[in-house]
Symmetry: C2
Subunit: 431 residues, 2 copies
């Protein structure tokens, strides 16, 4: 892990490059599997579960009884932690509810905008050895608040044949009743087309490996929406001498343990902080169970020393990190000047893992510089907005001739005619 | 144009099918042009402008002077109409501004969500014989309110060499200063990669033909966002005997004149309305300058008579129209029960063309049943939301152990460690 001293701005683009990802080669395989699922439904789902997961599964839907009784099988401490996290995430997402906006733009011309839930959504939760119940909370809670009518959860089957009770408990808290043990490309294909068992949905959410990522991209070509394009996880820490190197190192490592392709960056005005953080990283690394993964991520990562905060802010906005920790004496000024980041963590006592689990904010965030144009998952992501208008006779008398002039200028005579016929009646004494 | 009587629900899917579109064959051409633009910039832009538009253009950027003096060259009536439309659209979109949401989820755990403009956006405005200044207002106004720092407008070059003054005037009102005469695939490619003259943007908006549609889809694979997937325009009129068949026919035709692939549908409980609307359509059609186009769209279109309003509402939600006109005695109940539509027009004096031009709502709306999961363009579309959190020592003492338990259960030890190190210090008497 190198300390980079005051890099020239013209080299920033190269310096801040993400580890490249190109999954284009997977696309044709995904399309073939999708076509198979489209035509053969559950029998294709079972076939690919056998091929990719090595598991033969007859009924991959999870029994509602198992969801109901999930509480029996997790520790009291974990249950309490999930309850606390649920409450915080619920509060923060409930506060995002939007009221109907009403404007009378001219007398008699009433326009309004209302928010409606997306009726049918699918949540993908990755498998692996550990149960990712936190992602269920992050997706299931806003879906519940939005009022989505049908929430379908898919997760890869386990060799044990059962879904981890902590996942079932998180799902239960979110009122999720449809859970299917199916993962990877075939899970996304099932949600895209619907099968005998798996309902078709309108939007698919959730993290996943490269197969899931490509499958979600391909799903968009079959008229399904997705939460956002996905990439490896990232953290940038923006700090001066007010930061604690032990904490900075721990935060950088917490992101590095996600995967070998994760990227963590320290941008600082303090050479001393950079040096001490580097030493702390290597010391703490030794004790991590996921050391092998974290070491590789640390190799991709950078400690950058810059001249002043202004430069540090410009560099941070250019990188547009998924997660940003700010530990600066002048934190308020910095917060105002950051405009490209997914989620921002402020001060010495705000580790990124608080937002990953329990503080209330969402952990599904834009990676790969997508913070420039995408929001993280929030309540909005489970809704859409519809507009309405009602024009009275008086309103059309105010507005009508302007519509006629504009339609005429755009050479759309039938658009004009729809107004002219009405105005003619309104200007007739008997109307 | 056939009147369909009480179709069986199991045939609805077939009945409501959109005219199919498959542009997959264009994809490889678009990719080749994109690669050329990526590597050769403006010289590639000029080459494709010569090939596709038959126009040789040296400097395709529009002189700021021409924008400034646009008012001199349009009629007073058109200027006034654009001014009125601008004011209404501005009012309605300004009302969509969102405040920062702040929640203290636990004592000492402060979370908030703020809205930020997308820094760089591109607006595509189609060419053709008529100047589509209305689309400039619909995209330029929310971009201005959002505070996008760089708004780039592209539109195909005209044989005259100049952009229509009504378009320049609309752009001037929206404070747009960067306008380039470049259209089609090469315009979208230019915005995606940036060239010597054209700035790279983060999100591309606007309507277009099949080449532009495919180019926007391909742009998303190069990390650019787009407003929404596009398809031919649609209108569904939901009416009973309170509707006026002359107006209904005029509204259906106003949508039909957009293109041969447009689709218009009447769903009604009144057989009499269906019959009279049909007669009116054929009568009004004769007088339209764009009759040839409208005739073809009318061939794709349907007049559907159903038993009752409940069935009509179900059918409408299933179709999920871009534009929906409601003319019913019991309009309020119907409004509440519609949950899939782009924009809704209510009553006998609310022609769809009001929303196309001047009432205040946006006319960039989800087609092809995308109203199920996408909003139309609105102020949100030009912004993204960032979340923030600041946890005090007290806050971490409340929350920390729950984060530790959850991280442990998900087998992410470094996530736990970032909390444990801090808690250790906080629980040490001197801290």
């Amino acid at each position: 892990m190198k300390i980079i001293q005051q890099p020239d701005e013209k080299n920033w683009e190269e310096l801040l490059k993400r580890p490249t990802q190109d999954f284009a080669s997977l696309e044709s395989d995904v399309k073939a599997i999708f076509e198979d699922i489209k035509h053969n439904g559950d029998s294709a789902i079972k076939k690919y579960t056998q091929i990719f997961d090595g598991i033969s599964i007859e009924d991959f839907s999870v029994n509602p009884e198992a969801i109901e009784h999930s509480t029996d099988n997790i520790s009291a401490a974990l249950k309490e932690a999930i309850d606390v996290a649920y409450d915080n995430i619920f509060k923060f997402h409930l506060a995002q509810e939007q009221v109907t906006i009403k404007v009378e733009t001219l007398p008699g011309v009433k326009c309004w905008q209302a928010t409606k839930p997306i009726e049918k959504v699918g949540l993908y939760i990755p498998g692996g050895s550990a149960p990712l119940f936190s992602s269920i909370l992050m997706l299931g809670i806003p879906a519940k608040i939005a009022g989505c009518r049908e929430v379908v959860l898919v997760t890869p089957p386990q060799q044990t044949g059962v879904v981890h009770p902590a996942m079932l408990y998180a799902a239960k808290k979110c009122d999720i009743k449809s859970i299917y043990q199916v993962g990877g490309i075939q899970a996304i294909g099932g949600l895209t087309f619907g099968t005998e068992r798996i309902p078709k949905v309108y939007k698919i959410f959730g993290p996943g490996n490269q197969y899931v990522t490509v499958a979600k991209q391909v799903a968009t070509t079959y008229d399904v929406a997705i939460d956002m394009p996905a990439g490896p996880s990232e953290l940038l820490v923006l700090a001066d001498d007010s930061a604690n190197p032990t904490y900075v190192a721990a935060d950088l490592l917490s992101q590095a343990e996600h995967g070998a392709d994760s990227q963590v960056i320290l941008v600082t005005t303090s050479n001393d902080l950079a040096e001490k953080t580097k030493d702390e990283i290597y010391a703490q690394l030794e004790l991590l169970p996921r050391k092998d993964i974290a070491v590789k991520a640390i190799e991709n990562s950078k400690l950058i020393v810059v001249q002043n905060i202004k430069t540090a802010l410009r560099l941070t906005n250019q990188y547009s990190p998924e997660h940003l920790i700010i530990c600066l004496n002048a934190e308020d000024e910095a917060i105002d000047q950051i405009y490209n980041a997914g989620s921002v963590f402020i001060g010495n006592y705000t580790p990124e893992s608080a937002g990953d689990y329990a503080s209330g904010t969402n952990h599904t965030l834009p990676t790969n510089a997508f913070a420039r144009q995408y929001s993280g998952v929030n309540l909005d992501a489970f809704t859409k907005k519809m507009t309405y208008q009602k024009i009275s006779k008086e309103g059309l008398l105010h507005l009508g001739r302007h519509i006629e002039v504009m339609a005429e200028a755009e050479e759309l005579q039938a658009h004009k005619n729809a107004v002219s016929l009405r105005l003619k009646d309104l200007n007739t004494p008997d109307s």
